[in-house]
């Protein structure tokens, strides 16, 4: 058998969703469900080698070609960019990017340059650039919702799922920026050199999520 196809999965929820997708396809996922502390795991009957990584690293590995494929959220793709093919919208891991502020605050009012706190400075920058709007961006690592409450920023750009965290902290969505879900990404050279194997897998995945 040829060298296994290497696929990087974003650790955590996307990993679990992908494993259940694999199980649905009938793959032997025993190593994946009893992984212990191992970071590289085999799915022997599908000739797959699974690498577990943080979201941003999934992109790096696929971009540089050390992994042939990856499962990663659109949020990370939008923030990181990189060169790869984005073949399938896997449908799970659904949420959205949104601009939020304190409740009842009119964000677009006045001439003052607004300050935005976010974990995703590139996404925030691109969003306001598309509006032709200058903003100051502050990169925050933890709970972004704190920034407007502490009056560090006028608003935040962040991932919103149900909106309950926002609500509990007196914030509300002003505008949706982009929908997010998990994507199957593929290295540009791998797709060409291992076309048949990858296309077969992609077809299986596409059919099972329809």
């Amino acid at each position: 058998m040829s060298k296994p196809l290497r696929i990087a999965l974003t650790k955590g929820r996307l990993e679990k969703d992908t494993v259940s997708l694999f199980e649905k396809l009938g793959f032997d996922c025993s190593e994946l469900t009893n992984k212990g502390r191992k970071l590289i795991l085999q799915v022997p009957d599908a000739n797959l080698e699974v690498v577990l990584a943080k979201a941003a690293d999934v992109i790096t590995y696929v971009d540089r070609g050390v992994c042939d494929m990856g499962v990663v959220g659109k949020d990370t793709i939008m923030e990181m960019k990189g060169k790869f093919f984005e073949l399938v919208n896997l449908g799970f891991g659904k949420c959205r990017f949104a601009l939020a502020t304190k409740k009842d605050y009119n964000f677009y009012e006045g001439y003052e340059v607004k300050t935005i706190a976010t974990k995703y400075p590139n996404v925030a920058r691109a969003f306001f650039e598309s509006k032709g709007m200058d903003v100051d961006i502050v990169k925050i690592e933890g709970s972004v919702e704190l920034a407007p409450l502490l009056e560090l920023s006028h608003g935040i750009v962040d991932i919103v799922e149900t909106g309950s965290t926002l609500k509990e902290n007196g914030l509300e969505v002003v505008e949706d920026i982009a929908p997010i879900s998990a994507r199957l990404i593929v290295n540009t050279v791998s797709l060409k050199l291992r076309q048949k194997e990858i296309e077969t897998l992609v077809k299986l995945m596409e059919e099972s999520i329809k």
Binding site: E86, N89, T188, V189, K192
Partner: protein, 396 residues
């Protein structure tokens, strides 16, 4: 104040010994192929005016270029590639030269790559430009050269892929949409982002052209691609593009039955001065295309000389890196070391010169006594020690 006197800038590195040999080896293989095909070398300056790289058909984003200003305050860049400078030379100093011109280069290109991705900002590129012919033969000559380069570099597994940018341009120009939408479609096709492409195209319409554009990025592989494409869209121009591409594909495949030659109709590169057949080369164990090129019939006219052209460039550093994984290059160990006392050193230089004329790599010992020479020779694995005084004797 912090001094950066012990490290090299981000994206650059020193090449030592074996790594130099590996790169030179690739360079000499490639350059010999070009020379034997009648290509002549051209060296352009590392520094160019920014304007050379800021054309209508192709421009480089400011943030990707290394920039500085000259004495008069004009904007200069380190050349990000070699085709545009060569187009400049062709349109000026070679305007009267008889055609076709066959030019090759082997020089560095500088690009600011995304931070912390481990990519080099300075790479050596070798390439050819075949200027003055719009014939199919010229396209085939360029592809043929590209395949020869990849096969002679002895990379284990490579493939060459061809496409034609004209197909996408024909299709998208039939749609009543603005340039921004066209660019969005192009970039989604380039990224093979099937879901987003479908969503975008669904919002524009629902006819045969839309359907064809949706399928375009999926049309890659072997001969079967042409059958699938023929079923999708048909008009005079598109049929012509497809049949030309198929001819090239079949001709190249019959020239090289043992190599992997593929087609990708969804190859729609961004920096697009390409006007016709385009080509990419991939090798195993390198995560991006190492070779790319194609036909660019309108580029040189932007410098004031309307002449068709085609060519390709290959990333020499990438090929050397991949080859070094399997092939060991070793530095030359000196054959002889010549040792003398101070009073005889002129004679020692003379003796060393004679050895070198015989073809032996010969070092002059820079030590005061023979024991140090022995120790040094042992460490460097030099087999022969020659002592020069009144006599010339080989010692152990």
């Amino acid at each position: 104040m912090k001094y950066y006197d012990l490290i090299t800038p981000e994206g650059t590195n020193d090449l030592l010994f074996e790594d130099c040999i590996a790169r030179k080896n690739v360079e000499s293989i490639i350059n010999e192929i070009f020379i034997k095909r009648g290509y002549q070398e051209i060296i352009t300056p590392g520094l160019e005016f920014f304007d050379v790289f800021n054309l209508k058909s192709r421009h480089f984003a400011q943030e990707d270029l290394y920039k500085m200003v000259d004495r008069k305050g004009r904007l200069l860049v380190l050349r990000p590639e070699s085709t545009m400078p060569i187009a400049r030379v062709v349109a000026t100093r070679l305007k009267e030269a008889s055609l076709p011109l066959r030019l090759y280069y082997n020089q560095c290109a500088y690009n600011i790559s995304p931070l912390m991705t481990g990519r080099s900002d300075q790479i050596v590129q070798a390439g050819i430009e075949l200027i003055g012919s719009d014939s199919l033969m010229a396209d085939i000559e360029v592809i043929d050269s590209a395949i020869e380069v990849l096969s002679k570099c002895k990379v284990e597994d490579f493939s060459v892929e061809i496409g034609d940018i004209g197909l996408f341009k024909e299709l998208v120009n039939k749609l009543d949409i603005n340039d921004i939408q066209k660019e969005n479609i192009r970039s989604l096709i380039e990224m093979k982002n099937y879901p987003a492409l479908n969503d975008l195209l669904d919002s524009i319409g629902n006819d045969k052209i839309i359907y064809s554009l949706k399928k375009l990025p999926r049309l890659f592989g072997g001969n079967e691609v042409f059958e699938k494409a023929a079923k999708l869209f048909s008009d005079e121009k598109i049929d012509k593009i497809l049949s030309k591409l198929q001819t090239v594909y079949n001709d190249i495949s019959s020239l090289y039955p043992d190599y992997k030659i593929t087609v990708d109709l969804g190859m729609v590169n961004k920096t697009d001065y390409y006007t016709g057949i385009i080509i990419k080369g991939y090798i195993r164990d390198y995560g991006e295309a190492v070779l790319s090129g194609g036909r660019y019939d309108k580029l040189i006219s932007e410098f004031g000389y309307d002449v068709p052209a085609t060519g390709f460039a290959i990333n020499v550093d990438a090929v050397a890196k991949v080859i070094s994984k399997t092939e060991k290059f070793s530095v030359k160990i000196p054959d002889v070391i010549v040792f003398s006392n101070k009073e005889f050193y002129i004679k020692a230089f003379d003796i060393a010169k004679k050895y070198r004329e015989e073809g032996l790599v010969t070092e002059i010992a820079l030590f005061d006594n023979i024991d140090d020479v022995r120790e040094y020779a042992k460490e460097k694995q030099i087999q022969k020690i020659v002592l020069v005084n009144e006599n010339v004797t080989e010692v152990n």
